[in-house]
């Protein structure tokens, strides 16, 4: 049986998640893996927004911030279970994206970039300044999700690192599955059409404003869940989750790996999450090297790392 690209991607992803732990030298790597998956989830949203629909956002960390702080605040103030708090955060992010997106998405290119950037910075400022609610820059505790305890009750005893590794991996798989469904669906095609030619998309009947808004809202929900996962697994969150650099990180990961495909973008998330870990010896040079990698990849491998690598492999195969 021949696999469709969707099945192949999901299979590769599932295999990687399931098999890499066998090569982990220590428990610490479960944490790194979980972080990759959390970033991968946010980046999958960017694939829908930027890769499919061709719209740029430099403010998606704002939605991650909403998702993260929902998990910190809703359990305490509203008495919600942390899992429901994450859902609430996603709904809030979606509504916010809808409200902000309606006027913003009329803009193109750099204008859209700066408008989203402004939004992200505003969210991060609120999180920094409203100390009565968020405790400001020092951060705030996040309650336990409680799922690990539940699993233990059922006889599945995982270490904290193991639990978050597999749970985040599962979330990423679901996220990737949804994004891949979308790719080849009527909605996904409309998004890719407006990416190719906005005017032609209109002429075939695509309500361009509505389609862009859909992509923006969906990607915001991804970012929100990614923020929630990060907060829940660290049991702590600071406003940095909504910071400008986090927004840049998301876009960079996606574009570096290859924003046109879910697997490529997740690959990018892996590389950029691992890079600082690999560079701890050269902590001094971290920024220098990060900047260098960003420039070099964009100049020499425009489609992103994974598509370029795949092309190389296929090129020699033929």
């Amino acid at each position: 049986m021949k696999l469709t690209p969707k099945q192949a991607t999901l299979l590769v992803l599932a295999a990687l998640i399931a098999l890499t732990p066998f090569f982990f030298p220590s428990g610490y790597y479960y944490r790194v893996g979980a972080l990759i998956f959390v970033n991968g989830l946010a980046v999958t949203g960017i694939v829908i927004l930027t890769g499919y629909a061709g719209q740029v956002s430099l403010g998606h960390a704002g939605f991650a911030g909403i998702g993260a702080y929902a998990c910190a605040l809703a359990p305490v103030h509203l008495g919600l279970h942390p899992a429901l708090a994450a859902v609430l955060g996603a709904i809030l992010s979606g509504c916010m994206a809808w409200l902000v997106g309606r006027p913003i998405l009329r803009l193109k290119g750099y204008y859209l970039a700066v408008a989203t950037l402004g939004f992200g910075i505003l969210v991060s400022m609120v999180l920094n300044n409203e100390r009565w609610l968020t405790r400001g820059p020092d951060g705030i505790d996040v309650p336990d999700l409680g799922l690990r305890g539940l699993l233990k009750g059922w006889g599945l005893d995982l270490s904290n690192g193991e639990f978050w590794y597999f749970f985040s991996g599962l979330c990423l798989l679901v996220g990737a599955w949804l994004a891949l469904n979308l790719y080849d669906s009527p909605t996904g095609r409309a998004l890719r059409a407006l990416h190719g030619s906005e005017i032609a998309a209109r002429v075939v009947g695509v309500d361009v404003a509505r389609a862009k808004l859909q992509a923006f809202v969906i990607s915001a929900v991804y970012a929100s869940f990614s923020g929630s996962l990060l907060a829940l697994q660290n049991k702590f969150v600071t406003p940095d989750v909504a910071g400008f650099m986090h927004s840049i990180e998301m876009v960079t990961m996606a574009v570096l790996g290859g924003v046109g495909s879910v697997l490529g973008a997740i690959f990018g998330a892996g590389i950029l999450t691992l890079l600082p870990q690999a560079l701890t010896v050269f902590a001094e040079y971290e920024q220098l090297l990060l900047g260098l990698v960003m420039m070099l990849v964009m100049i020499f491998l425009r489609e992103g790392l994974l598509p370029s690598i795949l092309r190389k492999i296929r090129g020699t195969g033929e």
């Binding site: 080849d184 190719g196 030619s197 998309a201 002429v203 075939v204 009947g205 695509v206 361009v208």
Partner: protein, 259 residues
């Protein structure tokens, strides 16, 4: 029979320059009307106004009797107006088949949630569109290129792909902007037949084309523009004898002998 598309006193100015001024005509069901004129006469601008890409400065466009002046292109598409572009607007990174499927957007689109979850309803809609698109590609002779990336096709093939995409909307009115440009004699003849066939099925066709032989062969009615104004109209025989038309063309013939 009443007109499907009718235009009255349509005009637009760009930076004080009258690009199109007071142009009016109508296209009935199954009729092929051609708009001709020298380069820069305002033909494409006229198309852009009718299809909602530009907001007309003056005048009225109506579709099946409904006033649709300056309406958004996607809303016009819902009302059965479809078009192709002179300088091609292809979805480059999609396959040829996907380009044609895109033309089914209005019929295949449904709930986003169903699409995200890959529900059977979503897949059914997509499958119907896919089958329709395959049949259309066969009709324009592109079925064998279906899985190729559209950006890699030659110009003539892309022209046909655009026509297929426009037909996918199942339009009542079809605007074709230079459909035969860049095509060889055989391809032009094929496009000829295709247009005639579409018109015979009851679609009102408005055509801009530089290939005069083709225009004379297939048009029921010809509108001649020069410097943004209508200088003549009538059936092919009448128009080709019109002194104003001959003067307009002779004055500029040398400039675009290659067109």
């Amino acid at each position: 029979m009443s007109a499907l598309l009718s235009i009255e006193g349509l005009g637009i100015t760009f930076g004080g320059l009258k690009a199109v001024h007071d142009v009016g005509f109508s296209v009935r069901e199954g009729e092929i009307v051609s708009v001709i004129g020298p380069n820069g006469a305002g033909k494409t601008t006229l198309f852009n106004m009718i299809s909602g890409v530009y907001q007309p400065g003056a005048g009225r466009v109506s579709l099946s009797g409904e006033d649709v002046t300056g309406m958004r292109p996607d809303l016009l598409a819902r009302r059965g107006l479809s078009r192709t572009f002179q300088n091609l607007q292809i979805f480059q990174s999609m396959t040829v088949l996907e380009n044609a499927i895109a033309g089914y957007h209005l019929r295949e689109s449904g709930s986003v949630l169903a699409d995200l979850l890959g529900l059977p309803a979503s897949r059914r809609r997509a499958l119907t569109a896919r089958e329709g698109a395959r049949a259309l590609l066969a009709r324009v002779g592109l079925d064998r290129a279906a899985e190729r990336e559209a950006g890699n096709l030659c110009y003539g093939a892309l022209k046909r792909l655009e026509i297929a995409r426009a037909l996918a909307l199942n339009p009542k009115v079809l605007l074709l902007d230079e459909p035969a440009a860049g095509c060889n004699a055989v391809e032009t003849e094929e496009i000829d037949h295709l247009i005639a066939e579409v018109a015979a099925s009851g679609v009102a066709i408005l055509l801009v084309e530089h290939d005069m032989k083709m225009v004379m062969r297939i048009s029921n009615h010809i509108v001649v523009l020069d410097h943004g104004e209508k200088i003549a109209e009538g059936d092919p025989a009448t128009v080709s004898r019109d002194p104003a038309v001959i003067a307009a063309y002779l004055g500029t013939e040398a400039d675009h002998a290659d067109g």
